[in-house]
Amino acid sequence: MTPQATSETTRAPQDAPHLDELRRRVRDLTGRWQAEGRYEPRSDNWMRGFDPDFSRELAAQGLIGMTWPRHVGGGGHSQLARLVVNEELLRAGAPVAAHWIGDRQIGPAVLRHGSPELQAEILPGIAEARSVFCLGMSEPDAGSDLAAVRTTALPADGGWRVTGRKIWTTGAHHATHAYLLARTERGERKHEGLTEFIVDMDTPGVAVAPIVDLAGEHHFNEVTFTDAFVPAHRVLGTVGNAWRQVTEQLSFERGGPERFLSTYPLFALALRHAGPEQRAPLGRLVARLATLRRLARNVAESVDAGAAPVVEAATLKYLGNAFENDVIAFARDVCRPDRPDVTAAWGQALLASPGFTIRGGAADVLLSIIAKQETRP
């Protein structure tokens, strides 16, 4: 036999002490805040837990925009380091909604497509948790078909004038900035003529109306743009090129740990109360969780290595959503009349659960993305 060297499938985490230090920092922070009664861990808190103070504490410790270059306020860390921080935050059910979208989605998009000026203008605000972003993508009659966007940006003196309605905009009532997808050209092909913008929420002509969800909470909004002015330098990337840019953005956001850890606080609680008769279903959840976490690590390492792990990221989200829902089903079997805390946590996660499969693509969309990748001629 010729080959002699070993083929351990991945390099050893050479910066393990550094990662451990990051972990410890997050644990200290979340532990302290919980001890001080400043938040209660709960499921789905990366979407529902809005607390700018908490985000600013993280920012002060350099834990937002970690992978971005230092000159725009980033930390120059690896994706693996960011995974470590984010998974600890999710584990603790911490209120991270104020920076999550900016950190995960807007920052990377601005880094890829924004001019140096736009980067300098936008990124430090996210990294310092001064800027809070919301996503103006969906529209009332477009559903998940982004190409059907009707919100229009017309050229104006020094920029653009935007008119239209965006819906399901999470956190718009808290946001300082909106990412906006708008039509700048009306042509034959729906996928063309779309442009990405970054808009200040205090721009005249931008109005936010609440949409209360089935849990009675207010996270969603309808955002109306009425002849709102956006300066020319706030175009993100190339005019008319948004379709390609946004597809990248969406494929990027799928592979993170929030895709399977949304219900981890409930899992932890259910584990504490589970009995030996539940060890087989519990063991299956543990096996899936461990595997999902490995997938998230693979995705992070793959991005660190310069690759675009589209199939892996979509796989992670597809499996992660199913896992999150199965955690809720498992927790139901742990609910007992004498455990009102489990029952309450179960109910809270259940009411949040319809959102899990909506954001970032439903199961059938994810499968079709994978199939498309795999059957390219």
Binding site: V84, L271, A280, V311, L366, I369
Partner: protein, 336 residues
Amino acid sequence: MTDNARELRGLVADVVDDVPLDERGSDRLWATLRDLGLPLVGVDEARGGSGGTFADLVVVVRALAERAVGLPVGESALSAWVLAHDHEVGGVDTTLAFALDGEYREDMSVLRIPGVPWLRRSGGVVVYRGGDDASFVETGEDPRIDEAENLAGEPRDTLSIVGTAGTPLPSAPPMPDVRGRHTVLRAAAVAGAAEGAYRLTRDYVMQREQFGKPLARIPAVAAGLAGMKVAIVRLDAALARAVDRHAADAGAALPARLGAAAAAAVVAAETASVCARTAHQLHGAMGVTREYPLHHYTKRLWAWPGEVGSETHSAEYLGARALAGGEAAVWDELTA
């Protein structure tokens, strides 16, 4: 994938790809694999092995299974690895048997272990009677062999040993360690067979037309195909984790290794089931003929997962550990 893994995969491809599917369990192919030293991968060269690591062995086992090779390279190499703790190896083909898969006659005088891979063609077998009780039994002498096959037609013979037959192996690793490695190797084989079934299925639905377009363009078909891919990506992730835990230099303590092996086994069972079912669904009637190669993979996906401990047992092991260790222990192992 590391360069080394690529090289090993290339080696397997070179040797196997020209052998007709029906002959991939033949003595001749076995002889070729032996000549290349594959059944001794992961065993120290100084002890007669081919060198390389457990990770290398996993790569070889997966690559062979991708090609529907049912020869016992994993069992040979693993039993040789055990033997090498006490002896030089390489003289005869060896295989592996665990008393916990069998039963003693009531008076404890005879131990019967069914399902021993390729026992009939092995010169000896490493038998674990208990945690530290390993011995080597040469098949030329005492033991009785009753031949049997699994669903895929692979030899799974019953070993009957009278009394305390066999040479003790005082330095052998503890049984759970060996069982855990066997579990990982089996999960690797399942990943390979799933990949083989997936490739056939992908090719089929891309080439075959119905209602005037390739089957792959029908959304339900595309979703089924993607579901297979998802199952394989997931199993490979579980496998990578288990292999890392078994790495010689940065390897984990035994319980963590066993946990990762059990997780891989749970995921392998699910992957095998999804991939066999979907491959047949998407192939329709074509897939159920003996002539078409699919069954070489799907029969193995049916037969293999249950042979090294049941999925339920692995799940219960993980669940019991989680209950005992609590959330912090689960999390630490998760993120290790």
